[in-house]
């Protein structure tokens, strides 16, 4: 779904929650007159289960879209091996092959990206513009952060991930 220039994607979890409560409401309204009398509030409430995730996704994606040109200008192209705890807060650009993809269904994908020098975890807190899969060669723009904010190994907080070569089989 497109709102303005922003492509909005709702996670499968949000859809599942909406479907679950829709079915629950249908069943309850068939059997209970009390529920039927409250439908004027329950139906808008039900739709809020979809509207809120859509709104959050729209806001985060438009925020990331605004940040992308800044990172494009400021990021230094580094090999993955060069990324270390001392670089926390620095904007980096890395290129590599996607080795693993996790949590895509939550709209919070985590990738493991590797180049010839090493591998690093790339975390994204919104949906990417492109559907990135294992073995895609990608360019990542992001900021070096610690895995658990104040501790943990350095990872890349991804602002943008885009395929530069399609899947390597």
């Amino acid at each position: 779904m497109k709102i303005g220039k922003v492509e909005v994607k709702v996670s499968i979890i949000a859809i599942a929650v909406f479907v679950f409560f829709t079915i629950l409401l249908l069943i309850a309204s068939v059997y209970s007159p009390d529920v039927r009398s409250q439908l004027i509030w329950l139906i808008p409430g039900l739709f809020m289960l979809l509207v809120i995730p859509i709104a959050l996704n729209y806001m985060s994606r438009s925020e990331y879209a605004d940040l992308e040109p800044l990172y494009e200008a400021q990021s230094k192209t580094v090999r993955i091996k060069m990324i270390n705890a001392g670089m926390v807060g620095k904007a980096v650009r890395i290129e590599g092959v996607v080795e693993q993809v996790h949590f895509q269904f939550l709209n919070r994908p985590q990738y493991t990206v590797a180049d010839r020098s090493g591998a690093i975890s790339v975390k994204m807190f919104t949906t990417p513009n492109e559907d990135v899969k294992v073995n895609d060669v990608v360019e990542v723009l992001g900021q070096v952060i610690q895995r658990y904010i104040v501790t943990g190994d350095p990872v890349v907080n991804c602002i943008s991930i885009r395929k530069i070569i399609k899947r390597q089989e």
């Binding site: 620095k90 980096v92 070096v144 190994d153």
Partner: protein
């Protein structure tokens, strides 16, 4: 006493006591509570949750001292407070506390087998790891006459590069390379290391690709390098091996000749280990 002051064996014994203390405290306090109730002392059962809270704190500590952090272990004290802050009656309290104690024990086993051993002095940044020590000892005799200013420059350039401050590293390496080397046998190698670092920092700062021609160490200098050039290397591999060698060489020079900079260098040792391929 710091971790570095403890002999490793003593650390292992302390760790073993802490591991045993987790199930002992969490099960023990609840079982003591059950016993007191059976004897007729009907004290508020919520108080016996203190064992679970202590067990959670110990688990969080064991998770904290490992180089690989376990977020589940670290967050158990928060869950202990959430679960046990509300007063409960006897049956609910016993069930909750026993289930919580079982969970802590499972998490302890998980921590031991999935998150490795607690960090030693090297991984905690208190002293140098063995592979770095070996390289530093190997090169220590070669740069003894180097002047303290150059050694300090080596430390600053190394730390700037590690922290991604490439523009500053270019400037400092350029100044250091034309500065006083002192009475050093391998002065040309030191200058080359600064120049290689300067060239790479400039390229990274401008996000430029590998140039066709670039500064390299001479074959006769390979005895001083941590990663000698191999004929099997392609151009890319050789180019980046030169950077790794320059960084490691400057680290060694700084460590051996600028003692005041050692704490800053120690803080970067995880990166040095990566450069060494460890």
């Amino acid at each position: 006493m710091t971790i570095a002051d403890n002999p490793p064996q003593l650390d292992r014994i302390n760790e073993r006591y802490l591991e045993i203390a987790i199930p002992v405290a969490s099960f023990g306090a609840t079982l003591a509570g059950i016993l007191l109730w059976k004897m007729g002392f009907e004290i508020n059962f919520q108080f016996f949750a203190i064992g679970c809270v202590i067990g959670s704190c110990l688990l969080a500590y064991l998770a904290w001292i490992r180089p690989k952090k376990d977020i589940v272990g670290l967050s158990t004290p928060i869950y202990a407070i959430i679960f046990f802050v509300v007063p409960t009656e006897y049956t609910v309290g016993v069930t909750l506390q026993l289930l919580y104690a079982v969970s802590l024990t499972i998490l302890l086993i998980r921590l031991k087998y999935r998150f490795g051993k607690p960090g030693d002095a090297a991984s905690m940044g208190k002293e140098l790891a063995d592979p770095i020590k070996t390289y530093i000892e190997q090169t220590s005799g070669s740069f003894t006459g180097i002047c303290p200013e150059t050694a300090h420059d080596a430390a600053v350039v190394f730390v700037q590069f590690t922290h991604g401050e490439y523009k500053e590293a270019v400037r400092r390496a350029g100044t250091a390379a034309i500065g006083q080397m002192g009475d050093v046998e391998h002065a040309a190698t030191v200058v080359r290391a600064f120049n290689i670092l300067k060239e790479h920092s400039a390229l990274i700062d401008k996000s430029l690709p590998r140039p066709v021609t670039y500064e390299v160490f001479r074959p006769e200098e390979s005895a001083l390098l941590a990663k000698p050039y191999l004929p099997a290397y392609d151009d890319d591999h050789e180019f980046y091996a030169m950077l790794d060698n320059a960084l490691l060489l400057l680290f060694s020079i700084a460590w051996n000749n600028s003692k005041a900079d050692r704490p800053h260098l120690l803080a970067c040792q995880a990166f040095v280990l990566k450069l060494l391929g460890k």
